[in-house]
């Protein structure tokens, strides 16, 4: 295992110390229970937004805490959902009297822990709504399974709902908006390499030198299919094709195109992927009105990428463009 770390067990705590030292002007970091909150939380009269999940996806979620996005984020151990007490403390810390939205990625652990936290918060008199993001088209959806995973759309939902909360919309409105974003966003990812969970010390899966894994999640879970390496143009077809189909995109639609790096893939490759994506969408008459390119929802040092498309309308576009001031995403201020 080659990582710039000290002890595997200390990875998350030391990362949080680093974030506290680097961004102490903008965020407040609690180490136990672990959460990151806006320095000015709670913002009175504003719905609070809390997300969280396993660590190893940086900058998501901790890097998205700040004005116009999250009020707090709860980091679990690497790839392990955080616990209810973290979520409860974060929820209490950001409750400005208008209730708190939990944005939850659809993994059994995340869902169960956030459920317990919401129950505890309600016991303390805080109004909580939870929205589960499940946008990964690599996974067959069904009532009898755990359903689709939550991946790239989470980042977009956090940004857009954050803007709506700044506009002082009600908890119910922000939660509705979040469900709408979840309905309009779809993703699919792929890996060129596995990643190594620090405490495991070994790659989660092994890939041959000429193989790639299509339909991966963000936890080093193996994907749906393993196949020989292909040129970027073909990879983009494999990822964007199912996304376009699932969203039923047609001529004249406008989208936000999000090309995400998995952590070990450099920007130069992501721009090549983006170039192929825009050609594919051009060919279908779909217009990219906004884009986001970079490593925003990662899987440790995994090489690979994911593509997320969000069908836009005027409201979503306006909320996307609104100012955001976080360590991981920033514009307009």
């Amino acid at each position: 295992m080659k990582k710039l770390i000290n002890e595997p067990d200390d990875v998350v705590r030391e990362e949080l110390e680093g974030i506290a030292a680097a961004h102490g002007d903008a965020v407040r970091v609690s180490l136990d229970p672990a959460y990151i909150a806006r320095a000015d939380a709670p913002v009175a009269g504003k719905v609070g937004i809390v997300s969280g999940g396993g660590s190893g996806h940086e900058p998501m979620h901790g890097g998205f805490v700040g004005r116009g996005m999250l009020d707090a984020a709860c980091p679990g151990e690497v790839f392990t959902s955080p616990t209810p007490d973290q979520m409860l403390e974060a929820t209490k810390a950001v409750n400005g009297g208008e209730g708190v939205l939990h944005i939850v990625k659809n993994y059994t652990g995340d869902v169960l822990n956030f459920e317990m936290a919401a129950d505890l918060a309600k016991d303390e008199g805080i109004e909580v709504e939870a929205v589960v993001i499940d946008d990964d088209v690599a996974v067959q959806d069904s009532l009898y399974t755990a359903g689709r995973r939550g991946v790239g759309t989470t980042v977009l939902a956090e940004k857009i709902c954050g803007a709506a909360a700044e506009d002082k919309r009600s908890l119910h409105e922000v939660a509705d908006l979040c469900r709408r974003v979840n309905g309009a966003g779809r993703s699919m990812g792929m890996a060129l390499t596995s990643c190594t969970v620090p405490s495991a010390g070994e790659p989660t899966f092994e890939l041959g030198d000429d193989e790639m894994e299509i339909g991966i999640g963000i936890h080093g879970e193996p994907g749906r299919e393993r196949m020989p390496l292909e040129p970027a143009a073909r990879v983009v077809e494999r990822l964007a094709g199912p996304v376009v189909d699932d969203l039923d995109l047609s001529e004249g639609d406008e989208v936000l195109a999000f090309v995400n790096g998995m952590g070990g893939t450099p920007l130069i490759e992501l721009y090549i992927v983006y170039n192929e994506l825009r050609k594919l969408l051009d060919g279908r008459g779909v217009r990219i009105a906004r884009n986001l390119i970079g490593p925003y929802i990662t899987s440790l040092e995994m090489a690979g990428c994911s593509i997320t498309l969000l069908k836009l309308d005027d409201e979503l576009t306006r909320l996307w463009d609104a100012p955001v001031v976080t360590p991981g995403l920033r514009w307009g201020a």
């Binding site: 396993g54 959902s81 616990t83 822990n113 969970v197 495991a200 879970e221 193996p222």
Partner: protein, 222 residues
Amino acid sequence: MREADPGGHVGVSVESASAWVRAWADAIATNKQALTKLDSAIGDGDHGTNMDRGMKAAVDKLAGSAAADVGTVFKTVGMALVSKVGGAGGPLYGSLFMQMGSAAGGESELSPEGFATAFEAGVNGVVARGKAARGDKTMLDALLPAAEALKEAVGQGTSWPDALRRAEEAAREGMEATIPLVARKGRASYLGERSAGHQDPGATSSHLLVECATETLAKGSS
């Protein structure tokens, strides 16, 4: 009919319940890499680490508390798991122990029937929390058969050690039976058909739990 008990009593005391918890913590620590490896194949490679972190915390908490009844022992463990494990394992095993604790109530010692009932309540807690069914390739594939076998054996008057052994056998069979299954719940379900051919990590840690019971809860009985 149950055999006569020359040792004076049969059942689960605060001490033996605590010993069970400690034995499971040790077994998890010993099998940490193996559990993580199983989880790497069809999950995200953290089940061993998570459970080890949680059970170490549970054992510490237990040592620091002076639980006067079996219910408190189990609730302490459940709360430690919920607050230290995270992932799917945390709330699920947390629910198992918390529901076991509720069912055990304030008894300083559980009879075999009492324990079998509490264990069943715990397993039902897992069902309620995770909404999985038998055959979904989860920990329930080991826990449900174990709870049933224990209840049946105790009801039939099987000796307490034998009853625990039957539960262990049922858990083992259930665990092994997860191998060919295609997962319908948990992270492994994302793999679809590719999840077949691997043993479920949660079912494996659950089997360890029942196996530890045969070694610790039967103590003091014939």
